[in-house]
Symmetry: C2
């Protein structure tokens, strides 16, 4: 028996934010919708005295040679050590034998990638075809990747970045403008930045809503991808019912850690209400955006099928190219 | 940043079933009891169409440099491929930064080891000091390891092995006798084999009780370590109330996947009843066995603190000896 060990550098080389990654994530959502995947609830360990948390996600998908068990860590004092807060790895288990076939030491890159790709999937099905203006709330790595992801699926020409720290917003705008070759500017005010946007993406760990219903114009699409815990909330709950189409990545998960949770807690949405999942749309079994006036909202919490799908893609490409150390485990 | 990758052979070399392993597990239970550990509920993925399951356990323990996230797989059609059903690995995360510091490709060895060591801990505190006769129900690897574990803590001279398949029971008895240098024989009847035993260990995936209260004699200690899922049950529920002392490794976990679950389901134990945990005993805060007439029972489901403690021990020893491949993850 052998195990292939891949490093972050190798994984960044084979797994990039490109059309193939976006298609892969769209397919993962569809597989989940069709019942071709098994995805248990997330394991979550809160380490209060360390200001840290560890999550484990997994999903098996029919037809893939292996499936991922992903460990994600968030150690929020890491800046003191000059390290990013988020890290992690994935173990790949053989779908026939359950034995470990590969270890992806990605330090969280594949999570960043599949999260950004999910933003692209949401925009592909829910944003106006001619969407040219994007507003990103948040200034971190995922803010940068979400904007890049939008440029893969819509003709984005202009973007606004808003963050609580204006310096970080300016830095993020500068980085994105240089990298993407489009006009990107830091915004002083969320509502102003949202009013002209065709697409809004929220990428923060906010605990109080940053985006209010009053700021939304007809035709806008909103992707909220920051909330991944029961104490987080980026959207004013009424946005979810004002939307003509509101979708979850996984309803049960959004109801416990996403924007849907906050809306249920606020009494805006009944806890038993059925919300379409994005996989029903990518599978062609639920309508996507139907006209240029609809308001659409996607609540993305991050799912195990995304992890397994992106990891399987990365492992296939790495294997083709002979990347990685091969260890005998006997 | 670097990651140390250790193989099964290396881990078997540094982590053995010995007094140090038993002390380590006793200490882990005590730490859990004292609130010096954080241990979330198990992640469990049932893959019905593959006749397989995947579990993830983890625990952080104060004072250790790293903690384990353990992935265990059980693929019960593996015999068709000539492979053992159980496998797995552990990722070690740095307790300060959350970054992956080591990958232990143990194929389940550390789980086997910490499970056997827990049996030794239970016997050390709950079996009669002069316990000389042990009966093991089950004929697999863990049956062998549990008997070996008992010999570390009690003067075992004679053992009986019972299994549904008499050939396997004979083979297990022969193996154990040769390995341990004591008299071991296969038993034809569970009740007979239990009647003369000072210690009984059940190590099966039984779904109906194999051990009945009528067979138990005063002074016996019973460790049930087979049940680890809501459909498993080795002990007749009345045994738990007939016992003078009944302990769990982790009450909440035993109530969902251990013998305690079956007793609650049968109405034998009220669901709110408080059961002492073995860590209270190893921490010296709850009485152990008090005389040679008591009947004692331990319900062991396997806990994340055991995984983290045994993995930290193995990693320390492996590092001292310079074992493993060191990969840069940058």
């Amino acid at each position: 028996m052998t195990v292939r060990i891949l490093t972050e550098a190798e994984l960044r080389e084979v797994a990039r934010l490109d059309a193939r990654a976006v298609d892969t994530i769209a397919g993962a959502f569809a597989a989940l919708h069709r019942g071709e995947a098994v995805m248990p609830p997330v394991l979550s360990m809160d380490l209060e005295e360390l200001n840290a948390e560890v999550d484990v996600k997994t999903a098996w998908m029919r037809g893939l040679d292996s499936f991922a068990v992903k460990i994600s860590s968030g150690f929020f004092n890491n800046a003191l050590h000059g390290l990013p807060s988020l890290s992690g790895m994935m173990a790949m288990l053989d779908s026939t034998t359950g034995r470990v076939s590969a270890v992806l030491l990605d330090n969280g890159w594949l999570t960043d990638l599949r999260t950004a790709a999910a933003g692209a999937v949401a925009a592909r099905y829910l944003a106006r075809q001619d969407a040219a203006v994007a507003t990103v709330i948040g200034t971190g790595l995922q803010a940068r990747l979400q904007l890049e992801a939008l440029t893969l699926v819509r003709p984005i020409e202009h973007a606004f970045i808003w963050g609580r720290d204006p310096d970080k917003a300016r830095a993020c705008a500068r980085d994105c403008g240089e990298r993407l070759g489009i006009a990107v500017e830091a915004a002083d005010d969320v509502a102003d930045a949202v009013r002209t946007a065709d697409i809004v993406v929220t990428t923060t760990p906010a605990r109080e809503p940053l985006l209010h219903a009053a700021a939304l114009q007809p035709g806008v699409h909103v992707t909220a991808m920051g909330s991944d815990a029961p104490d987080k909330n980026e959207l004013e709950p009424s946005i979810l019912v004002r939307a003509d189409l509101f979708v979850c990545d996984r309803q049960s998960q959004c109801a416990s850690i996403g924007e849907l949770r906050a809306a249920i807690a606020a009494g805006t949405i009944p806890s038993g209400a059925r919300v379409p999942e994005i996989g029903a749309i990518t599978a062609g079994e639920h309508a996507a955006r139907e006209n240029d006036q609809q308001i659409t909202v996607a609540d993305l919490t991050g799912t195990g099928v995304q992890d397994t799908a992106i990891a399987a893609l990365a492992l296939d490409r790495a294997t083709e190219r002979g990347f990685g150390a091969i260890l005998s485990t006997d």
